[in-house]
Amino acid sequence: MKFILNDELIDDNTLPSDFTALRYLREKRGLTGTKEGCASGDCGACTLLVGALEDGELTYSTLNSCITPMQSLTGKHVVSVEYLSKTGELHPAQQAMVASHGSQCGFCTPGFVLSLAGLYENKQGCEQPIDREAVCDAISGNLCRCTGYRPIIDAGMSMVKGSMARKEIMKESDEPPYVELMSKNDSIKTQLESLQTERHDSSNYLQPTDLEQLAYALKLNPAAVLIAGGTDLMLENTQRYRDFETLIDVSRVAELKHLHTGEASLTIGASVTYSELENFSKTLYPQINALLSRIASRQIRNRGTIGGNVANASPIADLPPLLLAFDADIQLLKNDGSTRAVNIADFYQGYKQTQLAKDEMIASFDVSLDKLAQFHRFYKVSKRMEDDISSVMLAVRFDVDNGILSDVRLAFGGMAATPIRGLKAEAALTDKLINDEQALNQAIEALRSELTPMSDMRASAKYRLDMACNLIRKAWLELNGSDVVTFSGHAVSDSILSAGLEGCTHA
């Protein structure tokens, strides 16, 4: 496998399939600036920046190196913290962190620095001040136990070119030099371009780029395990110490990366990442976009895939309820190249059990545009706003026809052994007036009788059921134009905070 590590072209064909990028840097290259905090993608101490060519442009994104197989980064530019100050000058992200007192124990710091450096890249050198939301988004997967984050957020917001308090901090009189954006580095770009023409496969880590190659890889390696982002699979390796002999990486298969709006439906390829869908949905489907911002951290969203979230069959995954709300069809692909469609409602058969046969995988999802055009909302309740697993999640779709609820979907995560619809509750609302409160109450009663969630460390069974009911009420009120508010990782807006205070002289 070949890739660029900082400014060095690496060619290494000795790695086990599941050898993580974190271990590679620390154990093989002595690059110990990248830390292991949890080895499960939850803390961000291992954050790396990875540059890839997309339509000829070099773009950088962050990932958790602790659960990323090194070989999955074939043909990419891997940037560790050591690269940022290779000239002897601190990168603006590093300068800002020093000037703002953004480090205390320092163990999480390289991860934060890379997340901020990635933001600096995405903002093209920060000619304009960066807003707080963008900073918090960039560091949503970085945990710090010392600072309380305020100085780190300040650092992120002050990465504007040339505005550093460098004089004070660095005891130097000159202005910081212009820091070349990595994405404008032609030498890296040229090298990456030439790497694209080479095969990415190794004998134990196969990276097919189209369905034909994929079929061939599967045929030759029937015992191989499929991997896409690996954000769940790799926990088997790092938490349970399971070794994977051969992995087939489906994240570069072109046909699985489709993300487009057709005549009647939106097609989402199984290997589309959360971040890709997030960008795609920003203006088209703001509710979907908002839900995605509550799923995992930025680093995980850059790697994790829609197909993985669904195929994993976790009862607490957030996308299955969403797909249930839209009656999405799943295209399944057999190793022999044949396909079949199955509706999401029929896909889950029991705890961690699906309709997927041993020789099948998910290829894509089709979501009807008509249904996407209907009123829909997603509510996720968890202990923490950012990067947490749902205690309860509700995806709701209300089709309204002349003031009547012509079709209703109430799909839940965290309420059963599988993602599940509240069929009786749906029925209680269907064909009723949208503002029929009695029907709403009947739906909630029905839900209480049809779902029996369990208690665990995230929530009690009682709370889960109470939430499921209250979220239906909330959605119904929202449908009827009530000013209900749903919090997110972002700050509560001033308009909400000051609502109703007009008459108060001291407000």
């Binding site: 110990t32 007192h101 945990l143 309380g148 968890s382 202990k383 950012e386 947490d388 979220l471």
Partner: protein, 781 residues
């Protein structure tokens, strides 16, 4: 100790903002150059350790079969208790903590055997192959059971003043309830780790991530059966400690040392995160029952508190933790009649340990909970109840007899009340709550008064070793450890200030047991107080030698000698510091000295339960505002204002960093961080996937932190005050604000019970309780 010259301790405003150094490692942190133990180069023959853990909470071990473990590829050595050459007990103070279990286990996660292998992965894969047969015994898993069964790790202690029982009986109003307070996982970002390297004399050098290297040294020597002097422990920095590396780190050093000496190879013992969360102790849960009598105005007349700490299976540091909880059950409030009993509950769970605040937070939250409930009972703003009960003239003695002899608390509270615009915001919040059917806001101002000194008197000592080299560069070692809190930076500042030289000249070396012996743990917020004073003592010793030399050599009077702004003033002449030092060297002046400090005035008579356990109190207050979604109990903290007393700050940037970080850690403990155990005694929150510390999205955009501007009235180092732990308890303002928002549902007629932590679930059911109360009131009308 000789008295330090006045001008060195009373040089107020000695450290001015704008001239302050950043953290000494800041640039190394941001460039990835700071070395943590796991970053040190490994030897080709280095071994890695994993331990085989008990899967039973309380059981006899019937048989152990490790054949498959030994046979696993990469495994070099496997040890059980009998293989430990010296003592098997590695308890910090008392006894019961065994390096490896013998014929019984008393918590799930207890180490039974250890494997050394050529890689950590091989070691982890091997330990899973052990076959261990248990005969389970009944387990005690909850402090309520400990109390019922009278199972304690240590005897109960009681503090009292006045006549609590009598005063309660005659009090016009009473409250009686209980509050269960869950513990907290430290979640230092760097997990527990030690590397041991055998030396040529049969001894060992240990690199530890420990807040207490002297204790690691002592325990390593004990398990090896060697004199303490044959063990060297070094700590350059930790990736966070928070109390979790005070006693817990020693186990790793001991295990690595035993295996290193046995195999004559370097050995690394690093706990992967999940093992760390299962195997190491946490903040104690506390089950606090309380009965309080108060006047119609809300003045506390009497209080009876029973505080049961969940100590786990052994004593560890629990005696001090429970004591400190008791010492802080008054928080900022005068209790004229009180009985405070602290029970050391034994449970068959991991032995709980130190965590920032060391029991104190469990006392403070009890006090604040009582205040919130009294406020609702008498129909007043909780801030009025706080001010009414706050220590002040004629209400200035704690239940244990120590006087609170300055008026900082009330002044500070009132200053914050004004600067945070508390009253106007309260009105606005009331109006908001009346008008908004779906959202409720809450507000609370809570103070903290935290006693500074170890409650174990002997620990209140610090040591330092200081050298000046012939180029004028200074090297200082001290007994304190760096875990991010900026101790090394502050010590360097203190030394530079004491000499009158540039901060850049001073280098603080890593903490080593051969530089400063028998050092106390870096804990109890006392790192700078003790080690800064010791370093100052060493500096002043050398400085007075330099002064004597200058008087003789230049024939000048004592007061003609000074060092200012890095220049040595010798009467009418000046000389650069390096030149002067070189001259002193040529004239055979000793340029090296130790320094020592012991905290004066303190002493607590445990029999009488009276005395002065603390040299002084560090104070602070916070106002937090929250907004709650009544559908779900989800909430956001929308504004925090803090005013905190660090005396004369040595480094305001570092102090503010400590205050903010502690606040958020305290807030995390009380909001999203929830430890959970199943009915077998297994911890179910064993990973950051299910244990949620705050992220950047959890802190408010309006987060105003100011330092209270007043020197310490005690002669602390440059009149500063300790800052590590006290502000953690300011996070209690968030919990009280949430309780206040829940009370708003019932128009503040009751303050509904709110669980700790106040997860969205807990807040939701507290609101329901308030709503039910309100409905009951309305129905009875």
């Amino acid at each position: 100790m000789r008295k330090l010259p006045q001008d060195f301790t009373l040089d107020t405003k000695a450290f001015k903002k704008g001239l302050l150094p950043v953290h000494e490692s800041a640039i190394k942190h941001v460039t990835g150059q700071a070395v943590y133990i796991d970053d040190m180069p490994e030897w080709p023959n280095e071994l890695h350790v994993a331990a085989g853990l008990s899967t039973e909470a309380h059981a006899d071990i019937v048989s152990i079969n490790l054949d498959k473990v030994r046979a696993y590829p990469g495994v070099v050595d496997v040890i059980v208790q009998a293989d430990i050459p010296g003592e098997v007990d590695v308890s910090p103070v008392l006894s019961g903590d065994l390096l490896l279990a013998g014929d019984f286990v008393h918590f799930i996660g207890q180490s039974i055997f250890a494997v050394a292998a050529t890689s950590l992965r091989a070691a982890k894969q091997a330990v899973a192959l052990a076959e261990i047969e248990y005969k389970p015994r009944e387990a005690t898993l909850h402090p309520r059971q400990s109390l019922e069964r009278q199972e304690f790790v240590l005897p109960t202690h009681t503090i009292s003043c006045g006549d609590a029982k009598g005063a309660l009986e005659t009090a016009p109003n009473k409250l009686k309830s209980d509050l269960y307070i869950k513990g907290q996982e430290h979640f230092y970002l760097e997990g527990q780790i030690s590397v041991a390297t055998p030396n040529e004399d049969g001894g060992v050098q240990v690199f530890a991530s420990s807040q207490h290297p002297a204790e690691v040294q002592k325990l390593v020597s004990r398990v090896l059966g060697l004199p303490v002097a044959q063990v060297l422990v070094e700590v350059r920095r930790m990736g966070g400690g928070f109390g979790g590396k005070e006693s817990q780190a020693a186990v790793l050093g001991c295990m690595a040392a035993v295996l290193a000496v046995r195999n004559r190879r370097p050995v690394k013992y690093r706990m992967p995160r999940q093992d760390d969360m299962v195997q190491t102790g946490k903040r104690h849960d506390f089950w606090n029952s309380y009965e309080v009598g108060f006047s119609n105005e809300g003045e506390i007349i009497a209080a009876e508190y029973d505080m049961v700490g969940k100590c786990g299976c052994t004593a560890d540091l629990s005696d001090g933790v429970v004591d400190r909880a008791m010492f802080h059950a008054d928080n900022a409030y005068f209790l004229p009649n009180a009985r405070i009993s602290g029970y050391r509950g034994k449970t068959h769970t991991v032995s709980n340990t130190a965590f920032r605040g060391f029991g104190g937070p469990k006392g403070v939250i009890l006090a604040e909970n009582v205040i919130e409930e009294i406020a609702c009972a008498v129909g007043k703003d909780s801030l009025d109840i706080r001010k009414l009960n706050c220590y002040q003239a004629n209400k200035d003695t704690t239940p244990y007899g120590q006087k609170v002899d300055d008026d900082v608390l009330l002044t500070l509270i009132e200053e914050l009340e004004t600067s945070s615009n508390y009253r106007a915001r309260r009105e606005a919040i009331n109006a908001f709550n009346k008008q908004n059917p779906f959202l409720k806001k809450g507000l609370a101002l809570t103070p903290v008064k935290f006693g500074i000194s170890f409650t174990s008197k002997h620990l209140n000592q610090g040591g330092a070793l200081l050298h000046i080299y012939t180029d004028g560069s200074v090297h200082v070692s001290h007994g304190g450890t760096e875990m991010g809190q900026g101790l090394y930076t502050k010590v360097a500042q203190i030394v530079a200030k004491a000499f009158g030289i540039d901060y850049q000249r001073v280098n603080v070396g890593s903490t080593r047991t051969d530089k400063v012996p028998n050092a106390s743990p870096t804990a109890a917020s006392a790192g700078t107080d003790l080690n800064g004073m010791a370093a100052l003592d060493a500096a002043l010793t050398i400085k007075s030698r330099l002064q004597e030399f200058a008087m003789e050599h230049f024939s000048i009077a004592a007061d003609a000698f000074a060092i200012e702004d890095d220049q040595v003033i010798l009467g009418s002449e000046t000389m650069s510091f390096p030149e002067f030092i070189k001259l002193a060297y040529m004239n055979r002046v000793s340029l090296s000295s130790t320094g020592f400090y012991k905290t004066p005035k303190i002493g607590y008579d445990r029999k009488a339960a009276k005395g002065r356990p603390f040299l002084y109190f560090a104070n602070g207050a916070a106002v937090s505002e929250v907004i709650v979604d009544t559908f779900t109990g989800e909430y956001k903290v929308t504004q925090v204002d803090i005013l905190h007393d660090v005396g004369d700050s040595i480094n305001a940037d570092i102090d503010i960093g400590q205050i903010e970080g502690a606040f958020v850690q305290g807030m995390g403990w009380l909001t999203s961080e929830e430890l959970s155990w199943d009915d077998k005694g297994r911890i179910t929150t064993n990973s950051p996937a299910n244990y949620k510390i705050p992220t950047s999205a959890d802190i408010p955009e309006k987060f105003n932190v100011k330092l209270f501007d007043r020197p310490n009235s005690e002669e602390s180092v440059y009149r500063s005050k300790a800052v590590g732990e006290p502000p953690l308890m300011l996070g209690i303002s968030v919990w009280c604000a949430l309780k206040d928002a829940c009370a708003a549902v019932a128009d503040h007629k009751i303050s509904p019970p709110l669980a700790v932590p106040a997860t969205p679930e807990a807040v939701f059911y507290a609101m329901q309780a308030a709503q039910n109360h309100q409905a009951g009131e309305e129905a009875s009308l």
